[in-house]
């Protein structure tokens, strides 16, 4: 029997193995190994660390370093909490406590989810926890749930009458209509990068596969506009992809990788531009092809729009989000435990918000999931 079972021809074995190895290797690179120390040594090491920190802090040079860090990181006159947004709309925030909606009447915890995104008109939220996708109302009422393994990166698009949600499982892209019925496996194997909808008519989905190729196709017909390759049309390979985003007119596609920022047009898989630089984040200004980017050089982070530096600070900036009207940028600054709102048009205005982790009951720094929606 064993011989018989081992002789069965298994289809696509080689391709499946190599794709799986790519996924596993990428996930392994993100994982921090736990140092195993002897139980007997742990108290000794802990005591040594405490003594070293105390000694450093009490010495004159140590005090100087600590003071310098306090002065260099963060906006001095930041608000102690986020009381209001500088532009219209509402924020979705992910913290260790779950997903929060921040709007004029305050912040509300929607539930224990790890990621979320707005529906196209901001009337609903789709949220993901490890093995569940859920559609919620902004007050937290659950409309429907879908049980799937390792659900990630939901994205919702559509019109007043017809919407679709794309999301990832470990290696597949799934699409489900907005009412939660009729979930389909729509492609893969997908890299751990959110699949995004191209703005415009129909449902054109874009995702990047585990080999680093970008694919654009219509989920209803399965046909892609990139026609210089057979089938749905693949771009060339781009290593270590991290983010995909369409401009709001659907004419530019941004692919951010570990080493480069690539822009495509909607009809060809040949890039319009490739900027070879390590960037932290990038996003199109609403109703424009202008890009905001975050970069870090020698311990200093910068927020730029085009070539103009709008804001600079010590340590790491992480996410950026445009206000729906395209006038303000929100930059998260984990090093300072602050969010910074920077005006991107007209005169320079900056508003800092401190104690962000505490406000959202989080040990890790909260993530901005989206700023919605244009009035």
């Amino acid at each position: 029997m064993k011989r018989e079972l081992e002789r069965v021809e298994i289809p696509y074995e080689h391709g499946a193995r190599e794709r799986a190895w790519n996924v596993l290797q990428a996930a392994f690179a993100d994982r921090l190994p736990v140092e195993r120390t002897s139980r007997r040594l742990r108290p000794v090491l802990a005591l040594a660390v405490v003594l070293a920190v105390v000694a450093a802090a009490l010495s004159p040079p140590g005090r100087a370093v600590i003071d310098e860090i306090r002065e260099a990181v963060g906006i001095e006159r930041a608000q102690p909490a986020l009381f209001s947004l500088p532009a219209s709309g509402k924020l979705l925030v992910a913290s260790d406590a779950g997903i929060w909606v921040v709007q004029e009447d305050g912040s509300r915890l929607l539930g224990d989810y790890r990621e979320a995104t707005w529906s196209p008109f901001g009337r609903f939220v789709v949220a993901a926890r490890e093995n569940e996708l859920a559609a919620l109302e902004p007050d937290g009422d659950v409309r429907w749930t879908l049980a799937r393994r390792d659900v990630r990166s939901p994205r919702w698009a559509g019109t007043e009458t017809d919407t679709r949600i794309a999301y990832l499982t470990t290696s597949r892209v799934h699409v489900v209509p907005g009412d939660g019925v009729g979930d389909v496996d729509a492609g893969g194997p997908a890299a751990r990068v959110a699949a995004v909808w191209r703005p415009g008519p129909g449902f054109t989905l874009t995702y990047v596969n585990t080999g680093g190729r970008v694919s654009i196709y219509d989920v209803d017909s399965g046909i892609g506009p990139w026609t210089d390759a057979p089938g749905p049309g693949w771009s060339r390979r781009f290593r270590a992809p991290r983010k995909l985003e369409w401009s709001s007119d659907g004419k530019r596609l941004l692919l951010l990788t570990r080493e480069a920022l690539v822009q495509f047009g909607p009809r060809s898989s040949t890039p319009l531009s490739v900027r070879e630089e390590r960037l932290v984040d990038a996003a199109f200004r609403p109703r424009s092809h202008e890009l905001a980017i975050i970069r870090t050089r020698q311990g200093v982070s910068e927020l730029l729009v085009g070539k103009r530096v709008l804001f600079r600070g010590t340590g790491q900036f992480r996410d950026l989000a445009w206000s729906p009207d395209g006038r303000w940028l929100l930059v998260s600054w984990p090093t300072a435990d602050q969010w910074v709102f920077v005006r991107a048009t007209g005169g320079r205005r900056i508003r800092g918000v401190a104690n962000v982790s505490e406000q959202f009951r989080s040990r890790s720094f909260p993530r901005v999931e989206g700023w919605c929606c244009a009035p």
Binding site: M1, P11, E13, S171
Partner: protein, 169 residues
């Protein structure tokens, strides 16, 4: 004996962050993991997902893995349980008539060959027991523990599975 020693060394290396040790574990155990998933599900796309997700789950739990235990059976137990879950969900979905309107070109839905055809006549839970016993070489006691079944159920499923396969083959 040496293989077991090598495996422990690879697990230790992977726990410390060595990609080459992780790769050694992956290359050693992927073929059986993928084969086992396919023999239970008869779906290449699903088998790829299941085997891949099982490796990811194993990798995430690596820090707490007891190195004195063999890695393979631990991984294969995850694979088979996920494959059974998948077949249950699929059965449920077909009952609800949720049609999949986008066929994936990478999927092969129709099993071919005598053994596969014979296996296809068994319920998925019975297939899983046969695959665990004869491909993955679990003992009936280990299968009972892995699938949370009474030992007698495992034995009866093995008996029925073998009888069906003998008739078909």
């Amino acid at each position: 004996m040496r293989a077991a020693r090598d495996e422990r060394a690879h697990v230790r290396g992977a726990q410390r962050g060595s990609v080459s040790d992780l790769e050694a574990l992956f290359r050693t155990h992927w073929p059986r993991a993928y084969r086992a998933a396919y023999l239970v599900t008869h779906d290449a796309g699903a088998s790829e997902d299941i085997a891949q997700e099982s490796f990811l789950a194993a990798m995430r739990a690596l820090d707490t893995f007891d190195r004195r235990r063999p890695f393979g059976p631990w991984l294969h137990r995850i694979v088979v349980n996920r494959a059974i879950d998948w077949t249950r969900v699929r059965r449920l979905r077909s009952e609800l008539e949720l049609s999949e309107s986008l066929p994936s070109p990478e999927r092969n839905e129709t099993p071919s060959g005598d053994v596969l055809a014979a296996l296809a006549r068994l319920p998925p839970e019975h297939r899983a027991v046969v695959v665990m016993r004869y491909l993955l070489e679990f003992t009936p006691g280990e299968i009972a523990e892995a699938l949370d079944l009474p030992r007698g159920t495992v034995n009866s499923r093995l008996r029925r599975g073998l009888d069906t396969l003998a008739e078909e083959l």
